[in-house]
């Protein structure tokens, strides 16, 4: 076998890493870094896409003050926060006990179960949102039908809505509908994270606890939960970052408009509308940087919140 390349392709080990990295770095600079700097530049300018790139004007902080005084921007932030919490918190509240139970009690069926919970994560969010917009339909949707059936049950029935819910048009119901889809899509991802973390807990911890007479619940609260803390931090951070950029589900469910009373308009949807519906790229860029600051701050806060107990 010939082990030589044409001489012009022979590189000294000194320059080889640069040559190997070059294609990636060029793309990374052009499509990864440059857009970021460009959007920062844009945030301080006003620009209308119809009038060409020459028509950019320096406006200082105008875009930022516009965003901060814009009621819809605040509304979109409140919507986003509501959705991030309503879809994010239950994901972890369900995923942690679920992963624990899968870890303890399942062997042969564990992978199949994990697969079932994980599958929504890899499928197209557009196809999923389209499907759910039919499941959530008021008069013929399966979800209202299921609620109507469960309503016949004693006790549980009293907790359920007593009439068909107009999920996609009633501002108060749209958010729970979106949160349901997001929960459904991401809960399995978190189950996998927690399963991986559970497998690193040494079994002798549990054996010792059993010897000491600790019950399963005590073991869960005194061994499992504390051991999971780093993973909870990581998972919650991912949910925060993911929740604050929620775009596709609300976009599809509201036909790209934000829904009645803008109840489904997340910050990312509003950004998109500012740029592509209202042609205000400067304001949209300013908003994206404000939103980024919020994401960064929340990530840092989550980090601190989970760190404190170690110190």
């Amino acid at each position: 076998m010939r082990l030589s390349l044409p001489s012009f392709l022979r590189l000294s080990p000194r320059y080889a890493p640069y040559a190997l990295l070059a294609p990636f770095l060029v793309l990374f600079a052009v499509f990864g870094l440059f857009p970021l700097l460009f959007s920062l530049y844009l945030a301080f300018h006003s620009w209308e896409p119809t009038s060409g790139l020459g028509a950019m004007h320096w406006v200082g902080l105008d875009n930022f003050s516009f965003a901060l005084q814009d009621e819809w921007f605040w509304k979109s932030l409140r919507n986003t926060a509501w959705l991030a919490i309503a879809s994010g918190v239950p994901q972890h509240l369900v995923a942690i006990p679920l992963a624990t139970f899968l870890h303890l009690a399942f062997r042969r069926w564990r992978n199949a179960m994990v697969g079932a919970y994980f599958l929504p994560y890899i499928t197209s969010s557009v196809a999923i949102a389209i499907l759910f917009s039919s499941l959530f339909s008021t008069d013929y949707g399966l979800i209202n039908l299921a609620i109507a059936t469960l309503r016949e049950l004693p006790l549980l029935g009293a907790l359920l809505p007593q009439a068909a819910v107009d999920w996609l048009n009633d501002p108060d119901s749209l958010k729970p509908a979106i949160a349901t889809i997001v929960f459904w899509r991401y809960v399995g991802f978190n189950v996998v994270l927690y399963l991986a973390a559970l497998q690193t807990i040494p079994p002798d911890l549990y054996e010792a606890a059993t010897m000491d007479g600790a019950g399963r619940f005590q073991q869960f609260f005194h061994i499992t939960l504390p051991s999971l803390r780093p993973m909870i931090f990581f998972g919650v951070t991912l949910s925060v970052i993911g929740g604050l950029q929620l775009f596709e589900e609300p976009f599809i469910l509201t036909g790209g408009k934000g829904g009645s009373d803008q109840a489904g308009m997340t910050a990312a949807v509003y950004l998109y509308r500012n740029a592509f519906d209202f042609n205000d790229f400067g304001a949209a860029s300013a908003m994206s940087w404000l939103l980024f600051l919020i994401v960064a701050a929340l990530t840092w806060l989550t980090h601190r919140a989970f760190r404190r107990k170690d110190d």
């Binding site: 082990l3 390349l5 590189l11 080990p13 000194r14 890493p17 640069y18 990295l21 294609p23 770095l25 793309l27 990374f28 052009v30 499509f31 990864g32 870094l33 440059f34 857009p35 970021l36 460009f38 790139l53 679920l98 303890l104 009690a105 399942f106 062997r107 042969r108 199949a112 079932a116 919970y117 599958l119 994560y121 499928t123 197209s124 969010s125 557009v126 196809a127 999923i128 389209i130 499907l131 759910f132 039919s134 008069d139 399966l142 039908l145 809960v187 399995g188 994270l193 991986a196 549990y206 991912l238 970052i241 950029q245 775009f247 036909g255 990312a268 950004l271 740029a275 980024f292 990530t299």
Partner: protein, 292 residues
Amino acid sequence: MSTTMPTPTGTTVRPASATSGALMSTWSAYLLVGAGALLMLAPFYFMFVFATHSRTEIFSLPPPMWFGNDFLNNVQILTQRLPFWRNLGLSLYVGLCNTGLTLLFCSMGGYAFAMYEFRFKKALFGLVMGTMLLPSFMNMIPSFMIMDLLGWIDQPRALYIPGAASAFGIFLMRQFIASSVPRELVEAARIDGCGELGIYARIVLPLLKPALGTLGLITFISSWNNFIGPLVVMRSPEMYTLPLALRSLQSPVDTEWGALMAGSAIATLPLIVLFALCSRQLISGLTVGAVK
């Protein structure tokens, strides 16, 4: 991994006081987990069921619970309203190009980061990793403008070329190479007179098959599902990828739900098949950042 895992509170150490109540609660937990799994899968089931029914059947009481025979009709409506096969082909084309480029560039870059020492290596790697945490909306507006500048609006390359600059790909490749390509092998090849690119192409690349498989799967799936990218750069229906094409069928007044479900099912089926074949690889690849 599952078969050899010891159960921490295994059945052998269950205390003698395990009452019928405890047994009941264990069984109800099994039931709950199983029912939850069915609930997770149910939407997929109904997607496929609805794909085989007409719009009037889907919106009747009770809605269809079992497969009908309108699938071909639905596909016909799809092809009337959209250049559907073209959209499907374009999704496949963009996905394959994106995957090919990502595998090539990220394996080269990951190898450089894993095996060489060079100036600014740490800073560069940190910069690349830092962008992994950036929210996707940060790129939406400027990337549209860059595509506009380059004249790439309505061009498939606007989707697969930027997609190849994958920070996640670099991360995955670097991790894999650092942990499973022996340095001695690279040194030995160098002493034998193999050039640097030759070492990459003939020694390292063949060893990367498992990681290339994982990264390839993940890249293809995320390209296949990508919505924001095409939403921003694709303008004419002939250039729509599947998610965008399906979305364009939604209208406030007259949505062809049967056709829309058939299209969604066609877009989803390949992913379910891929997942069924390589779920382990996909799950571990997608959560690798967390597990380290």
